[in-house]
């Protein structure tokens, strides 16, 4: 879902930066206030692990693949603000060091995968209120991928409209195609996240209680 350079209208690229940066700055300030020494290695390993997991593509049929985004996993382990920080670091490194996603489109990529996906996950997790952790992790992952893909599809459609077809893809085609593929990719994301969360709940349940950006974490509540 990494948007390359030259695909979107410059106005949409600017809008991506304008929306993503204040949200990320807010998340960074929230994490700054609450992070402690004991969480440093865990955050670093989680971020590095998600980076590697994003490199592993799984086939979803029809000659298309998906890969883990990891936003929901990070939300469940670090809270929504911690997830935004971790996803931001990963996306910036992917762009600057590995050329995955265009540098002009980094704002949009941050918006989709480091802002929309964590908040979408957080909504589902909050609605579940700590019940049915495995099912919640699956639903939150699926919803996060589909919503992030919707945001990407909307950007494609708006780019097409604003530029009279010079950028983006016609929304009539872009929106159903993006949603169709990502509805399937979201199942893969959901299964992987559910597997990791279920495993951690058994072997290290305390890892599911770290919530950065909150003054007083509540051990029994996931978000």
């Amino acid at each position: 879902m990494h948007i390359p350079d030259g695909l979107m209208d410059p106005m949409i690229l600017f809008a991506g930066w304008a929306i993503a940066l204040p949200v990320i700055a807010f998340a960074v300030s929230k994490v700054n206030r609450t992070v402690d020494e004991s969480k440093v290695p865990f955050m670093a390993i989680l971020a590095a692990g998600i980076f590697v997991a994003q490199m592993l593509n799984f086939p979803v049929g029809g000659g298309t693949t998906g890969h883990l985004v990891g936003a929901t996993l990070a939300v469940m382990l670090l809270g929504v603000y911690g997830s935004i920080v971790v996803m931001t670091v990963i996306l910036v490194i992917q762009c600057l060091v590995f050329g995955d996603g265009g540098i002009t489109a980094l704002g949009l990529n941050l918006l989709n995968m480091a802002v929309v996906a964590p908040f979408a996950s957080a909504v589902i997790i909050r609605l579940a209120n700590g019940k049915a952790r495995s099912a919640t992790s699956f639903a939150a992952s699926w919803f996060a991928i589909v919503l992030a893909a919707s945001a990407c599809a909307m950007a494609l459609a708006l780019s097409f409209t604003l530029s009279n077809g010079a950028y983006g893809i016609n929304g009539i085609v872009a929106i159903p195609t993006m949603l169709g593929w990502h509805a399937v990719i979201g199942v893969g994301e959901g299964l992987i996240t559910m597997g990791v969360i279920s495993f951690l709940a058994k072997i290290a349940p305390e890892m599911l209680t770290m919530q950065l950006g909150k003054a007083e974490p509540k051990p029994e509540v996931m978000l």
Binding site: M1, H2, I3, P4, D5, G6, L7, N32, V35, E37, K39, V40, P41, M43, A44, I45, A47, A48, G49, F51, V52, M55, L56, N57, F58, P59, G62, G63, T64, T65, G66, H67, V85, V86, V89, I90, I93, Q94, C95, L96, V97, F98, G99, D100, G102, I103, T104, A149, C152, A153, L156, I169, N170, V173, A174, T177, M178, W181, H182, I185
Partner: protein, 74 residues
């Protein structure tokens, strides 16, 4: 390894959407020093490199943050 070989040649959801609509990737504005590699061994190497870079950046970020916090409290 077989899993990688099976899926790595195909595009993801966005790439597939672009392909289906005859849209190709533009020239990158920023030339990154590395890519994910063309085969299993180079991708493995890049995965290890990426893992280390992300770990160092994340640890550095939090340590800088902590030292600033300590300065404020002193």
């Amino acid at each position: 390894m077989g899993f990688y070989a099976f899926s790595a040649m195909y595009g993801d959801g966005l790439e597939r959407t672009m392909e289906d609509n005859g849209v190709s990737e533009g020239e990158p504005v920023w030339e990154a020093p590395f890519d994910y590699g063309e085969n299993y061994s180079s991708s493995l190497l890049m995965g290890i490199l990426g893992f280390l870079i992300v770990m160092v950046v994340m640890t550095g970020y939090i340590l800088v943050l902590r030292s600033r916090k300590n300065k404020k409290t002193n």
